[in-house]
Symmetry: C2
Subunit: 132 residues, 2 copies
Amino acid sequence: MKTKLNANAQAVLESVRLSTSHPTASEVYDTVKTARPGIGLASVYRILHTLVQQGYIQEIRHSDDTCRYDGHIERHDHAICTACGALLDVPVNITLPPDLLQAAADATGMDLSSHELRLYGVCPRCALVQQQ
Amino acid sequence: MKTKLNANAQAVLESVRLSTSHPTASEVYDTVKTARPGIGLASVYRILHTLVQQGYIQEIRHSDDTCRYDGHIERHDHAICTACGALLDVPVNITLPPDLLQAAADATGMDLSSHELRLYGVCPRCALVQQQ
DNA sequence: ATGGGTGCAAATCCTTTGCATCTGC
DNA sequence: GCAGATGCAAAGGATTTGCACCCAT
């Protein structure tokens, strides 16, 4: 399933994996350009799609109009700041009671394969700003 | 917080609330045009934003590049078909153990206000198609 | 009369695509 | 030599915005 990655794809994958934030395509592009100066934005988009398809990285969308990428592929959850839009990985493993998932599967008739919990709230930085 | 809605805004809100799917802006536009023929797409976008801001409706994004709206504002969860992209409300109330949420809040330092569980899987229709 | 809402069209932004070229095998 | 990858520029599509106009207050 996973094909061998060429140098551009390696550089893109590395950039996404090393990023602690969840970079957008153009952030990845900016980063990768230092390692591969000739690369074009279109290739970054193409490579990101391939990496998602092949399961190397995950795509995440929330309220802004850009698509973000996450090099962290194990199942995990996200916390989203409703004030600034920041998207953080939740660093603890939240395991849902299986009966809840079963109930949801039954209710929707879907064959569930994965899930993601999205937590909404105010991040520490925004909380500070709001207090002022 | 909620201001009085004018006739256009009422029509948009009604359209979103009555829809069982999760309509996009242009689907809302198409629907609303029958009740308010003169309305423009830009106004639909403007009104949808206002309605979201004022808490009348929710905005949902997932993998496609359009933004969808949900007239269902009580906390609830979504099931997303990984084959066709369909987005369904989960018709059962999934209550998470409070200690899980607390652990996540502690780990992220965020002041959590809400959450949404996103379930990924294959919807019944797509499951049928895949079997063939 | 006055401030906010509106429609239209143009602009904007992210993303995708066409295509000629280049690359590695 | 060939299939796939690439860069560039142009196209595409969803959303936003500028602006003159209209409406209700």
